[in-house]
């Protein structure tokens, strides 16, 4: 196994409610690289992300995954996070009554395995809010409580900057965002990359839009739970010209 | 079906078509008690109408929904006195029930509706919505019980009662109850009682729209999408 690979996935298959959603995927992610996974609705992209993070409904029926050289299957959800995995959710849930700041401080302490005072943490948090153009009042609000789609995505990126993972899986971070909101999100990602050049990204998306701001090293097209094409950013050009049909037909040949 | 619509059917009728089982009455002494079983994998629709001068002394129906079956009940009480008891028991796993009701009452009408959504098995769902308007001296009492037994894991239950009081003397009492004996559930109930929103009435008036017209539009919006059955929707339209 290549020691530069932060993530190694081999013949990974996942099912949910006994229906197979990911079939035999293999993927190697080098430290510092950007992978993009695209595909139509129902292709299994999000299922793949959820299974990586360890969602209890997603059962790994075959294959293995290694993060930092450690076999996933032995790790609980929070342990995967502590090993450096971060998942930005497509639809983050609300946790009423738990403020953004207290939640993030708990997460920070768990992942960095350290203690930090409320004052010091809030100072850091407000600095990050400033970087993302997020108003100070944000941090006292209940976690995702009453947040708009754009606000939820911004909070996911705020978490990315605070928790400083080794590999971040961004599940449709661009969906539902207008141009300005998308720019803020991408700027946040850029900051994260700059602060940690070894940060690896797996960006899951339908649309080519986000790729105007982030340069991918590898592009994969998924359909029916399989990766049906892999390559560089030239795949995106083909996608733009011919749609997913082009790849589906190729796969069938 | 024309007879139902044009009101020439004067007494209680039980009418079965491919789509549904109808019970429609404007009898001044209607009594109808029945236990209906929706067998495994079946889908059934029941339509209940009490209207125009009817005195439904006792409509008492128990529905038992078996495994993977689904039940839909649509109820309309319009300008009638009624005492109605609907009990829906989700006995089989993955059974599903939807109960939607409308009442439109005025003058001195009195109506009592009691409903029970009883979840006995796992993965069951029930959804109850009752919406109504009370005008004149009408009096409405709604009591709704949702009971989820210990075996009814992964069940979802919703119950919602919304009433609009249109006159000074109208009165609504709403008693929604929940009894839950297992933790793996989602249960929700709600009751809201109010009148036409002043802001909306004022805005329409400032644009020249008459109060009567806007009230009708607001009522149509209030009751929209409750009934799937065409007959019911025609009846409702005629009333608003």
């Amino acid at each position: 196994m290549n020691k530069n690979n932060i993530l190694e996935i081999k013949h990974f298959s996942v099912s949910v409610s006994e229906i197979s959603v990911v079939n035999d995927i293999s993927l190697s992610v080098e430290a510092g690289s950007v992978h993009v996974i695209m595909g139509p609705n129902g292709s299994g992209k999000s299922s793949f992300a959820y299974a990586l993070a360890g969602h209890p409904s997603y059962v790994i029926t075959q294959g293995s995954a290694y993060i930092n050289g450690i076999d996933f299957s032995s790790l609980a959800v929070n342990e995967r996070a502590q090993q450096g995995l971060f998942l930005a959710f497509q639809n983050p849930c609300e946790i009423p009554g738990v403020s953004v700041s207290s939640f993030l401080r708990q997460a920070y302490m768990a992942i960095k395995n350290t203690h930090i005072s409320v004052g010091d943490f809030n100072t850091m948090l407000l600095m990050r809010c400033g970087q993302l153009g997020i108003d100070e009042s944000f941090i006292a609000r209940g976690l995702n409580e009453g947040f708009s789609g754009g606000e939820k995505k911004r909070l996911e990126i705020l978490q990315l900057l605070i928790l400083q993972p080794a590999i971040a899986v961004l599940d449709e971070i661009d969906s539902g965002l207008d141009i300005d909101a998308l720019k803020v999100v991408c700027a946040g990602i850029a900051i994260a990359q700059k602060e940690n050049p070894l940060l690896s990204l797996i960006i899951i998306t339908h649309y080519q839009r986000i790729l105007r701001y982030i340069n991918p090293d590898h592009v994969h097209i998924m359909n029916n739970g399989l990766i049906i094409a892999s390559g560089g950013s030239e795949l995106v050009d083909t996608l733009e010209a011919e749609g997913y049909e082009a790849f589906k037909n190729d796969a069938q040949r | 079906m024309d007879n139902i619509l044009n009101g020439s059917m004067r007494c209680a009728e039980i009418y079965t078509t491919e789509q549904a089982i109808y019970y429609i009455t404007d009898d001044d002494n209607a009594v109808y008690t029945d236990t209906c079983i929706v067998a495994e994998n079946e889908q059934r629709v029941y339509i209940l109408v009490a209207r125009d001068g009817c005195v439904a002394k006792n409509i008492d129906l128990t529905f038992i929904v078996e495994k993977s079956a689904s039940l839909r009940v649509e109820l309309l009480v319009a300008h009638a006195d009624a005492t109605i008891f609907l009990r829906c028991i989700m006995r089989g796993e993955s059974s599903h029930a939807v109960i939607n009701g409308v009442y439109i009452l005025g003058k001195n009408h009195k109506m009592t509706i009691s409903t029970v959504q009883h979840h006995e098995a796992a993965h069951t769902k029930s959804n109850l919505i009752i919406k109504g308007v009370a005008d004149g001296n009408a009096q409405v009492t709604y009591s709704g019980m949702v009971r989820v037994e210990k075996e009814a894991r992964c069940s979802i239950s919703c119950q919602d009662h919304k009433a609009m009081l249109l006159s000074e003397n109208a009165r609504v009492v709403s008693i929604p109850s929940l009894e839950v004996l297992t933790n793996d559930v989602h249960c929700f109930h709600g009751s809201a009682i109010g009148a036409f929103e002043q802001e909306k009435l004022f805005y329409a008036a400032s644009r020249g729209i008459g109060q009567e017209i806007i009230k009708r539009l607001l009522l149509q919006a209030f009751f929209a999408h409750l009934f799937k059955n065409k007959t019911m929707n025609s009846l409702l339209e005629g009333l608003l």
Partner: protein, 456 residues
């Protein structure tokens, strides 16, 4: 058992007999040197208590035998349980909550007063300077008879219910608070400071009068479990908020789980007045308590925020009642409950809008968290609206700690226990926010302990 303890136990038994009768009631009144109208009041209440049947609704009271109870034990003696008698679980709780040794003994009913007497003397002077009266009920009856007589039992008459009648007959201890017009008391009055030994008595009677424009926050009870041998507690609390006055009454109850805690609490809010009941129910075997607010004049506002935790063998049967008697009144009820390890929590509520009370705004929200399928939760609200021009909403939900929320928090590095604890903290937040800070800290610790126990 030491020689002293044995003496005490004997005098304890000698003083009282079990059961209730006229003689005991008269004895109680004479001990306190009460005026004759109070003796009459007590005796009339006794007849009412004897006539009324046990309630046919609510929690299960079949194990409660009114004849098997000591109705009056002279205050000092009621404290003399030995430290050895106090159950182990309670001693451990004290330690975990960080309560010092002397306090532990006091709370368990063993020691006598301690250093807070100094604090109390200073505060007493401060209040006296403002014209505020804060003392135990019997002292108030002796020193301010006319004032007490004007309001006593005007909100909760003895025939209100069987246990109000009982309390009316045998009441002892409890607080009397009078706040003159325009006075805003800047720190919470704590029942704790009322250093008379019977402050955690069985049949407390509390009366708070807030004159126009005044403000008082009153806190009673504590999160540390109170162990008592006597198993029936039946308190009565009456609040009167005159025009523009504001009363906030906070109760934290954590009685040991052999106790039947049956309480009648009611407030009347006059024009533009504001009454808040903040109620935390953590202990007891059975609690039946439905704080009530009567919004009597236009502009009055009422809110009831409660939290009930029902663990093994417990039934918390609580809720709130609000009656809108006048137009332009507002009410708000938030009732949160948690049921675990076979516990049962029940919400019983009444929201009533009488004819003529137009432009009423009311929101009721009941949320129940149920942890396992041994436990149970019920919600029984009644909404009775007789006026068309109002905006009334009620919502209730029941669920368990959601897997989605757990997954989200764990994916950010928290282990399962911390994730659950954080979610529960969020759930009770609406309640904890309203408590004075020291209480908030204690409650959070108490909940954390409860959670630890149940996860094991």
């Amino acid at each position: 058992m030491t020689h002293n303890d044995k003496d005490t136990l004997q005098s304890y038994i000698f003083r009282t007999k079990k059961g209730l009768n006229r003689d005991i009631v008269i004895q109680i009144s004479e001990q306190k040197n009460e005026p004759s109208w109070m003796i009459d009041f007590r005796l009339k209440a006794l007849s009412i208590f004897e006539e009324k049947p046990m309630p046919s609704w609510g929690a299960d009271l079949k194990d409660l035998d009114p004849d098997d109870i000591f109705y009056y034990v002279k205050p000092l003696e009621s404290q003399h349980t030995t430290w050895d008698d106090v159950p182990e679980r309670i001693k451990t709780t004290f330690e975990k909550l960080g309560i010092p040794q002397a306090e532990q003994k006091f709370l368990a009913g063993v020691g006598a007063q301690f250093e807070s007497e100094m604090i109390y003397k200073n505060l007493k002077k401060r209040w006296a300077d403002q014209g505020v009266l804060f003392m135990d009920m019997s002292t108030a009856l002796r020193e301010h008879e006319a004032l007490v007589k004007k309001y006593f039992s005007t909100i909760i008459p003895p025939h209100d219910n069987k246990f109000a009648a009982l309390n009316s007959a045998v009441w002892s201890g409890g607080s009397f608070v009078y706040v003159p017009a325009g006075v805003r008391i800047d720190m919470p009055l704590q029942a704790y400071f009322r250093i008379d030994a019977s402050q955690m008595g069985q049949f407390e009677r509390t009366l708070i009068i807030a004159e126009p424009g005044s403000f008082v926050e009153y806190v009673e009870g504590c999160s540390a479990p109170i162990y008592k041998k006597n198993s029936l507690h039946s308190a009565v609390v009456e609040l009167i908020a005159h025009e523009n006055a504001h009363i906030r009454y906070i109760t934290i109850q954590n009685w040991s789980n052999n106790i039947y805690n049956l309480v009648t609490k009611r407030a009347v809010a006059y024009k533009n007045a504001h009454v808040e009941w903040v109620d935390g129910n953590f202990g007891s075997k059975v609690t039946m308590k439905y704080p009530c607010i009567v919004l009597k004049e236009p502009g009055a506002k009422g809110s009831i925020i409660s939290l009930a935790v029902a663990g093994k063998g417990q039934h918390q049967d609580s809720g709130g009642k609000i009656i809108h008697c006048a137009p332009h009144t507002r009410s708000h009820i938030v009732a949160k409950s948690m049921s675990k390890e076979g516990g049962r929590s029940t919400y019983r509520g009444l929201l009533k809008v009488i004819k003529g009370a137009h432009n009423v705004h009311s929101r009721v929200q009941c949320d129940a968290l149920i942890f396992d399928d041994e436990s149970r939760t019920d919600t029984y609200p009644t909404i009775d609206i007789r006026e068309n021009n109002g905006d009334i909403g009620h919502e209730a939900s029941v669920s368990k700690v959601s897997d989605e929320q757990l997954f989200y928090l764990m994916s950010r590095g928290l282990n399962e226990q911390s994730a659950r604890a954080l979610i529960v903290n969020g759930f009770i937040d609406a309640f904890v926010q309203l408590l004075p800070m020291e209480y908030a800290v204690e409650i959070n610790r108490l909940i954390a302990m409860e959670m630890e126990d149940s996860i094991g």
